[in-house]
């Protein structure tokens, strides 16, 4: 095995801070050393005194008995993706029926985002949003190669699909009985 990085012998005791946090009792470690079961905790159900309350729609895990004392209010569910998300939250975090719809909703949400931009008269600058200018600057050859390959594959796929459709149509026409 070869490696470009040269490794020289290291004397640990020369390293700043070596062993300053060493503790022979560091096993088992956090959080087990502070472990407390529910019966040892006289106030295991304790909650903060004030609970956040507003009209923002929030989706609640079915593995929780209540809404947490504080919660995020950013981007409430909406549109088709929101409907999918609401359906996903009928199932626990233990189920694919929870997570896979959420992944689907995320993809639907991307399309909704583009539609929303266009509806507001804004054409998203996808080239800039993907950070391509900085990749062009620092990795021009690889970037142009990547774009070239994507372009060629896309063009090839379009040509192949178009020619395939044409052939199929011809076959259908040929197979149609003539009277």
């Amino acid at each position: 095995m070869e490696n470009n990085v040269i490794n020289t012998p290291i004397d640990p005791k020369q390293i700043p801070g070596w062993g300053v946090d060493a503790d022979p009792k560091n096993d088992p470690t956090y959080p087990m050393r502070a472990r407390m079961n529910v019966s040892q905790d006289p106030d295991s159900k304790h909650r903060p005194a004030s609970l956040q309350s507003d009209n923002t729609e929030k989706l609640q895990s079915v593995e929780r008995p209540n809404i947490s004392a504080v919660y995020g209010t950013t981007v409430p569910p909406s549109g088709l993706s929101g409907m999918i998300r609401r359906a996903a939250f009928n199932y626990s975090e233990n189920r694919y029926r929870h997570w896979l719809p959420l992944v689907l909703a995320d993809r639907v949400n991307v399309v909704e985002g583009i539609i929303e931009d266009l509806a507001h008269g804004k054409v998203p600058n996808i080239f800039a949003e993907k950070g391509y200018p900085v990749e062009m600057k620092h990795n021009r050859t690889a970037f142009l190669t990547k774009m070239g390959i994507i372009g060629a594959v896309t063009a090839g796929a379009v040509v192949w699909l178009s020619s395939g459709n044409k052939k199929k149509k011809e076959v259908r026409r040929a197979a149609r009985p003539r009277y």
């Binding site: 470009n4 640990p12 022979p24 593995e63 985002g113 950070g131």
Partner: protein, 379 residues
């Protein structure tokens, strides 16, 4: 205010958004002074975390100045400059009272397994993050910690996640004096985990990655041995061989879901999303740690399943540890380490750019351009 805006996988931009508001009596509004792009932000950026909604602002590493407080906030006041831990913790629930501030039960309605994290999808609570000019910070009596006099903001911002997570990776591993510690991943967290392993008395620290520039950086910053797995036939055999065929005492997975190095894992985990990310590093960790050893996981994976050799965990008698860092619990000790010069967090920063260039920042970090290790955004 200007804020980062997620538009879909690998698409972000900076836009004007409404100012955040106090929603709870223990909330504070923080004017962000420094914020970072984290390796775990890339899981969101790549669209791998379920329930990441278009329009969300990412960013769980930020420091700032308090500009408004709710009626029940007593521990900090307007004008204080604070370190904001990446996890949102009430400080009162069954878990917080055990010091598990990364596992708070009163901050995330949308999932029970993970606590709340700023700007980290609705699965992690649905909060906007700190890659913005201002951010809402819940439980301001608990999380925000005043930046000590004289501490550089660049050091402070890395105390929100990178330093505590790297430190806790070493701590969870239960390192004993003289242990051989292997760290998979030479990103900021892996580099910091390797550096912190020495604080616990490690006898040998080895870091493994595929990027030579990161390995070179790690070798200098963390005083560790550094090897490129692309130049090995099999990293597990390499580790066995270099540890007298015993395996490492401790292995730290500081990679998580974006791991390279195994085609099957990459295709099923990163391309097809049939797994909760590629578990290559964890797979290697389990197989390269010695019998009875400890695997410590701080690399982030998604909430579903991963293919790992669980049979070897049983057969080798391994202990597997993992958690989101309990930043608040660790901060006092880590601030000491920074103040006395033992740790030099800002030494990890390679790029600084304005928030308005957030799209370039993500691409640069994601594609590892210009020898990028850590990017700080300045609103």
């Amino acid at each position: 205010m200007l804020a980062m805006d997620y538009r879909g996988p690998k698409r972000v931009r900076a836009v004007q958004k409404p100012m955040p508001e106090i929603k709870h009596p223990q909330d504070a509004i923080v004017k962000v002074l420094r914020t970072c792009i984290c390796g775990s932000d890339l899981h969101l950026y790549n669209g791998n975390v379920p329930d990441t909604r278009v329009g969300t602002t990412f960013g769980h590493e930020f420091v700032g100045e308090i500009v408004e407080v709710g009626s029940e906030v007593t521990k900090v006041k307007v004008g204080d400059r604070v370190i904001v831990p990446f996890n949102i913790a009430c400080g009162e629930c069954h878990f917080c009272r055990q010091g598990m501030y990364g596992n708070c039960h009163e901050s995330n309605t949308e999932a029970s397994a993970v606590g709340a994290i700023f700007g980290y999808s609705h699965t992690a609570g649905g909060y906007d993050g700190g890659q913005a000019e201002y951010a809402r910070v819940p439980y301001a009596n608990v999380g925000p910690t005043i930046i000590p006099e004289g501490m550089d903001l660049d050091d402070a911002v890395l105390l929100t996640d990178v330093v505590p997570t790297g430190y806790q990776a070493a701590e969870m591993a239960g390192i004993q004096t003289g242990d051989t510690v292997v760290v998979f991943g030479a990103g900021p967290i892996g580099i910091m985990a390797a550096r912190c392993a020495w604080l616990f008395g490690a006898g040998r620290v080895i870091i493994i990655d595929q990027e030579d520039y990161r390995l070179e950086f790690a070798r200098n910053y963390s005083y560790c041995e550094a090897y490129n797995f692309k130049e090995m036939n099999d990293p597990v055999v390499f580790i066995k061989k270099t540890t007298d065929w015993m395996g490492a005492d401790v292995v730290i997975d500081a990679v998580g879901a974006e791991a390279a190095g195994n085609t099957m894992q990459t295709i099923t985990g990163r391309k097809l999303l049939l797994q909760a990310g590629s578990a290559t590093a964890l797979h290697w960790a389990i197989n390269s740690v010695k019998k009875g050893g400890v695997v410590s996981i701080v690399g982030v994976y998604g909430p579903t399943d991963n293919l790992i050799p669980i049979g070897n965990v049983l057969n080798k008698g391994l202990t597997i540890r993992g958690n989101q860092a309990s930043v608040k619990r660790l901060l006092p000790r880590l601030i000491e380490h920074v103040q006395n010069g033992t740790l030099n967090p800002k030494g990890l920063i390679t790029h600084r750019m304005p928030l308005a260039e957030v799209a370039d920042g993500y691409r640069m970090f994601s594609a590892k351009l210009d020898n990028c290790i850590k990017t700080v955004l300045i609103p």
